[in-house]
């Protein structure tokens, strides 16, 4: 015949209780009928022959009670009472069911019931708000996608594509007159270059005059023979767009040249107004040629 005192002596401190969890500061009780969750002499459902708990199932709260009379009948041990949905009424029901019971159990039951109703309210509120849907990642698919992306990146050759597109747009004159690459002049100059150097410069000057009067640099030109070598390099750019060499937008080119091209002293001095963007090696040469 097992008195609760003996049970507690055994399970509580000395021997093994499978519901007991020990941590550094406290002992917990995993028993589902436990009222407080801690492992105490007064909260152990095994070690007290008169015990009560409040538990909830599917949103409804029940009061479970255990008395000494039913101790030999484990099946009928716990008596269940449904509590009303109304908070105050349920508290009264607890009181009238646990009348003449120890204060501790009554108090703890009501506390537990309060906590449970609070979290039930919270659940109901949260389900109304937006729910975050958790979608599992599939490792094989993730890996496959990553691999395909890498291959696509390599196949894309983005830099080349962008450069090509930009050059296309330049060709089709979408930029207007911001940039001017007077290839026309170069071509003609190149042809004349083969004939005679001096007559070449004259011809160029004539062309210049024909094309644009606004060119301020015409007078400041020098045609250096040394620059003819540079002209050859530009031969490749023969078929390029035909720029109307009317306006030189100083501002645009100014800003650009400041950004990227390093200033070439003598060339700049000669022609402060024209900003023609060339490859840097040929810059002074082409400039003088164009003039």
């Amino acid at each position: 015949f097992l008195s609760p005192q003996v049970v507690w002596d055994m399970l509580g401190n000395r021997q093994f209780c499978s519901y007991k969890i020990t941590t550094k500061t406290q002992n917990f009780c995993r028993n589902e009928y436990n009222l407080t969750g801690l492992c105490n002499r007064s909260s152990c459902p095994l070690a007290n022959s008169q015990y009560a708990t409040v538990r909830e199932e599917k949103g409804r709260c029940y009061l479970y009670m255990k008395t000494i009379e039913r101790a030999p009948f484990p099946r009928r041990l716990w008596e269940r009472v449904l509590l009303s949905k109304n908070y105050e009424k349920a508290l009264e029901e607890i009181d009238e069911n646990l009348i003449y019971w120890p204060r501790f159990i009554r108090h703890k039951c009501k506390q537990r019931f309060t906590k449970i109703t609070q979290y039930l309210i919270r659940i109901r509120k949260l389900t109304l708000k937006r729910q975050r849907k958790i979608v599992p990642l599939r490792r094989k698919i993730e890996r496959r996608e990553k691999r395909r992306e890498e291959k696509a990146l390599i196949a894309a050759q983005l830099d080349n594509a962008i450069e090509k597109e930009l050059l296309e747009r330049l060709k089709q004159d979408t930029y207007g007159d911001i940039y001017n690459f007077p290839i026309h002049a170069f071509d003609k100059a190149l042809q004349q270059q083969e004939a005679d150097s001096e007559s070449e410069s004259d011809a160029e000057k004539e062309e210049e005059d024909e094309e644009a009067d606004k060119r301020e640099f015409v007078e400041a030109d020098d045609s250096d023979l040394s620059d003819f070598e540079d002209m050859d390099k530009l031969e490749t750019s023969s078929e390029e767009e035909q720029e109307e060499e009317e306006e030189v937008e100083k501002k645009a080119s100014h800003s650009k040249s400041k950004g990227k091209t390093p200033l070439k002293g003598p060339a700049r001095r000669k022609r402060p107004y024209i900003e023609i963007e060339y490859e840097e090696e040929t810059e002074p040469g082409t400039k003088t040629k164009a003039a």
Partner: protein, 273 residues
């Protein structure tokens, strides 16, 4: 043996000299791509008519100026926040607002009331942005992308400065099919119509095998045939997951296109964008 065969072929070619047959074109996935019936022909009238009357018509007719709202999912982490800021510098006339647990369904009418034309939501997972929802606001299509390999500005190897306030140009590459066309128009409608060439900035959306790569560069023309580009600004890749007809609505929306993994990933040569 492959090397031996190659050598032999090369010797034959050299031996033949001028009479050698032209080099064989290597097979690439792009070459072998399964022909998609919805590929848009530039002269297609139906498509042209469609595009004149769909939801982007006001933009392309210059009736509306794009105004973008960028936001994230709940509780964005540092990386996502920084990415949002950088994105807002790339896209002119865009504003970043924190989500703070607001329901999208409720902020959409507010956005429309305040004249926003587009909404971008960047979804986050484990501290990195991994999804993008782009929704054209006055009742426009909503596209949901999966975002990957996001690089912030400081992670890109370059020595350039910040992007300026100039309106960048837009390059849309390789959007061939009908679906790709609509997605491309969606991207185009994010940016104002008239790029400021002074700024010399270009935003590129390049579609390759259904992956859309976004890059932001500054270009400079060194000569007629040479252009230099310098990457500034964030970069990311997108993969389209679904396209919805109306604004964002996950339950009742009418889906124009969903990525069905089973069917669509089976064939390696078939792409949809």
């Amino acid at each position: 043996e492959k090397i031996a065969a190659k050598k032999k072929r090369r010797k034959e070619r050299e031996a033949l000299g001028d009479k050698a047959p032209p080099k064989a074109v290597p097979k690439t996935i792009e070459n072998q791509r399964v022909y998609d019936e919805t590929t848009v022909d530039p002269n297609d009238e139906e498509v042209a008519f469609d595009e004149a009357t769909d939801e982007f018509a006001p933009y392309f007719n210059r009736q509306t100026v794009p105004k973008i709202l960028i936001t994230t999912s709940d509780r964005p982490r540092g990386r996502t926040v920084r990415f949002c800021e950088q994105l807002s510098t790339v896209i002119p006339n865009s504003h970043v607002y924190y989500r703070r647990g607001l329901a999208l369904k409720r902020i959409i009418p507010q956005c429309i009331a305040r004249d926003f034309t587009d909404l971008i939501v960047i979804n986050e997972d484990r501290k990195i942005p991994n999804g993008l929802v782009l929704s054209h606001l006055p009742d426009g299509p909503t596209a949901h992308f999966r975002m990957s390999s996001v690089r912030l500005r400081k992670e890109i190897k370059r020595k350039g400065k910040e992007p300026t306030e100039h309106v960048p140009e837009v390059i849309l590459n390789n959007f061939t099919t009908r679906l790709g066309h609509s997605v491309g128009r969606m991207f185009a409608s994010l940016f104002p119509h008239d790029p400021q060439f002074i700024g010399r900035q270009v935003a590129t959306f390049h579609n390759q095998r259904d992956y859309i790569f976004f890059r932001f560069h500054r270009y400079i023309f060194k000569s007629e045939k040479k252009v230099g580009i310098q990457e500034l600004g964030p970069r990311f890749t997108l993969k389209l997951r679904s396209l919805q007809k109306g604004t964002f609505d996950s339950k009742f929306g009418e889906y124009e296109w969903i990525h069905k993994r089973r069917e669509m990933d089976m064939n390696r040569r078939k792409f949809h964008l």
